[in-house]
Amino acid sequence: MGVTVSGGAESIAAHTEDLVAVAQLFDRAAADAEDVLDYACSWAVRLIVESYGCLGAQLLEGALEEICGPWSLPRLAAGSLRDSAAGLRFAAMVYSSSDDDVFDAIGSQLGQLGHLFQATFVGAATAVGTRSPSAAAQAFLTSDPDVVDSAAGLLLFTGLEQAVGSRYPDGRPVVYDLGRDATETVAPHDLTDLVDQLAVRDDTLAGEVSVAFVIGADGRRRAIVDVPGTKSWSPGRTDDVTSLSTNARALVGSPTTYERGVLNAMTRAGVTSTDEVMLVGHSEGGMVAVTAARDAVRTGRFDVTHVVTAGSPIARSVGGVPESVRVLALENDADIVPTLDAAENPARPNVTTVQFDVDTGTVSGNHGLGTAYEAGAAETDASADPSVRAFTDSAEGFLDGSDEDTRVFLITRKY
């Protein structure tokens, strides 16, 4: 296992509209198969056949017996086609989602809808060597994460952000200082430590972020800000700043209440415009970290020099980050979330994308910090790739301290 480093993710050539188009083909074929059945087994045909007398009808009905009987292939084909069409539409829906909760729900739904996938994608079950529909379906989904490409294009870039924005105002942030985190006192020394600390923050309250001060070997104070990902997938009005509306905005690079809350928390923690800052974000948190870095540097409010994202679709927003900000994007090839932006990360000197492959067999597992991205970070730490080394060397001041002082903040939303 190794990592692939590039200025941009591999091109994406998958299209969920194809899945839907094939589903329509299947449905039409099913209708034709059902039509044959309906006709051959109709009363009209039977009346004609019976008009040839008892023995004549018996002989004639024998000709139609295969179509109308238990060995009817049109019936079998129609059922399989309908099931497969439903399975394809379900798959398209799955690929269209970036929703952890939806993934979880899918996990349970797949158990119930397993027969749909069995109908068409028996090969997937065979491929993964399991008889479990849920496991097979998840393996099928996770084996082709790039297929979300067009779903993102269809759903997210054709008005979702505007629709969400107009229907659900983003509100304003309310930031609560939760005090010091006595458990986070050891400074990180590599990417693995950064991701590990982010995972700790990710396990806390929705909207909870941390600002850790590290004194580097050069005696200079720097700040590392951890920004976890989505906790609420409500598209509606909610005080949870990690909700779906934040995703819709951040994905296309729009400012969000979550971002304003992060910047507010940094101010409350005492970060100044002369402190170098590293933002570390997972999933939605990575998107917010990118837009926060962009806006903080442009306004001169903070000196954000580094951003590390894990499993974040940032292709649409990272191009707006000033060249003084170095971005390292960790992307698990088996994770569908980084592909939701339907675009490659731009190949820029200050944007390094590291791809690795950790396939846990589940959609949520492939997106998890502890289940996938810590391992990917460890691989990246071990990589001798010059782009990776350039990033970590430039971040040395954040990673060569011994102690850190961590402050925790809770960001909520008010309307």
Binding site: Y52, G53, L64, A77
Partner: protein
Amino acid sequence: VGDPARRPQPLAPRSLPSHAPHMSADPAPLYAIAAELDRRAALLRARAWLIGTAPTRTRWSSAGARAWADGVARIRMLLLRSAEQVEHAAVQLRARAAEVCSWE
């Protein structure tokens, strides 16, 4: 799909008594049914061909490609076998129509 060898076989032609007065001896309605079955079987074949030309822009992984290919091939095979079954029924119906209507 099952083992074709285990499917019920068509009834063998047999000698039957002559028509009662109320029985039809005109094969035309039966030929019409057979023609209709042929037309619908052709539609199934056309659907199978269309599914074979389904959009394939997705760049699958090897496992996904196998699953997709297996699924589409299975669906096409089912449709083609369905068409064959319907066409076979039409052939049987024509043959039996001729037999039934030839009874003296």
